[in-house]
């Protein structure tokens, strides 16, 4: 079990800035996030969209903001546990013990939940038996290309993931690319490659249509798709790949005994503590009178929460408020002379 001063759940902008606010106070933290990279919604939902309301930054994209925040917390050498979801939270006297789906265990006097709207998970197919075939012949991601060799593969989706994998896997498998409308959304170069492979007979494009049913026993044998004009087509298929983006799920957070309202965690607006001592919530996931779901509000929330975190992690020390412009201690923690 790893011990630290604060466990941060969620590596979005608010979770990242929490590292900074704890770090300048001399507190160590670790971060856990279900995505494979830091940035949260900024990186997953709108990496290229400009944001105009970060104070003193007239315009930046979600990706740029994430990069800047990562640069700002670099001096603290914080350990990230990505592709991991927190499953369990238990109390152990003054400490909290957290267990992840990777069987990692952490202990700390403080937890800051900066979980946005929950953890990102692939949007799943809802046709009958979809669940039964999941991870056997229905996949929402390609982890190892070798499993997709010499197969009949039906790929659903119209975005970059669907197009990129159609191209890649067409090198050694038969591909059906299936989308609900005629237009695909992808890089022009990728689109022209796909069209070329269609002409060569390596990729079959089926539009506008949607999945109607899956057939098979242990593995998928056939799928049936339904076109907008009502016609259906049965296609021999060994593997279905579905790329309908990610959705956000609150997941196990709802079961930790925290006071919740409308999928958000209730906190006080003095230090953003929940009804459990030492568990804080900040950013989009917290609610209090007047709450605004803005990144800048989340920054303020973790700044205040970090003060209470200090008091709990260092009960024998007195908290002193300091400015980064004048505090030699903070400057040395930031690696400045």
């Amino acid at each position: 079990m790893k011990k630290t001063d604060t466990i941060i759940i969620g590596a979005g902008p608010v979770g990242l800035f929490a590292i900074h606010q704890l770090g300048i106070k001399g507190l160590k933290s670790i971060v856990i996030d279900n995505l494979d990279k830091a940035g949260g919604q900024c990186i997953e939902l709108y990496p290229d969209k400009p944001i105009y309301d970060i104070p003193a930054v007239p315009e930046c994209t979600g990706e740029e903001l994430t990069k800047k925040l990562l640069e700002q917390i670099k001096p603290f050498n914080t350990e990230f546990f990505l592709n991991e979801r927190v499953e369990e939270v238990k109390q152990d006297k003054e400490n909290w013990i957290i267990k992840t789906n990777n069987n990692n265990e952490f202990s700390a006097p403080n937890i800051i939940i900066a979980g946005g709207v929950g953890s990102f998970e692939p949007r799943k197919l809802t046709v009958k038996d979809a669940e039964k075939f999941e991870d056997k012949s229905l996949f929402y991601a390609v982890k190892n290309k070798d499993h997709f060799k010499n197969k009949n593969i039906s790929i659903f989706g119209g975005g970059d993931s669907a197009l990129d994998w159609a191209l890649e896997l067409s090198k050694f498998s038969n591909i059906n690319l299936i989308h609900r409308r005629d237009d695909f959304r992808g890089a022009p170069h990728t689109l022209s490659e796909i069209k070329k492979l269609e002409k060569e007979g390596k990729i079959a494009i089926k539009t506008p249509c949607q999945l109607q049913s899956i057939e098979g026993n242990e593995k998928i044998n056939f799928i049936t798709i339904k076109f907008d004009d009502g016609k259906t087509e049965k296609i021999k298929t060994d593997v279905v790949l579905s790329f309908f983006g990610l959705i956000m799920k609150l997941g196990p957070i709802a079961e930790w005994g925290l006071n919740m309202s409308k999928k958000t965690i209730e906190v006080n607006s003095k230090n953003f503590e929940t009804n459990k001592k030492g568990i804080f919530a900040a950013g989009d996931i917290c609610s209090y009178p007047g709450k605004l779901k803005l990144i800048l509000s989340g920054f303020h929330e973790v700044a205040l929460a970090s003060v209470e975190c200090f008091k709990r992690a260092r009960p024998n020390e007195k908290y002193r408020f300091e400015f980064t412009t004048s505090s030699k201690t903070i400057q040395s923690r930031l690696g400045k002379k």
């Binding site: 939902l45 975005g159 309908f244 959705i247 779901k293």
Partner: protein, 106 residues
Amino acid sequence: MPKITYQDNQGNSKTIEVENGLTVMEGAIQNDISGIDADCGGSMACATCHVYVEEKWFNKLLKAEEAEIDMIDMAYEPKKNSRLSCQLIVSDELDGLIVTTPAKQS
């Protein structure tokens, strides 16, 4: 104030007065209409405020921009009359609008 009717896929409906300038999504969230999740808060990034719009209304709405159509690809059971309710801004012209929510949002 314009009246907006939110109907679920079972046919149960609620009619709410929604202030001009709010979105159809905000009208739903402020009035606890189930069936519209709006996880991303209206930034056109999640497709969980997806609704179906009756044909006669669908043609009266301002056309969806490309980013909205792309996002609808991700929605649960999209149809020809699908829209994201966060992009429908309430005005007097929309008085009487009926939207139907899908069986679920994700």
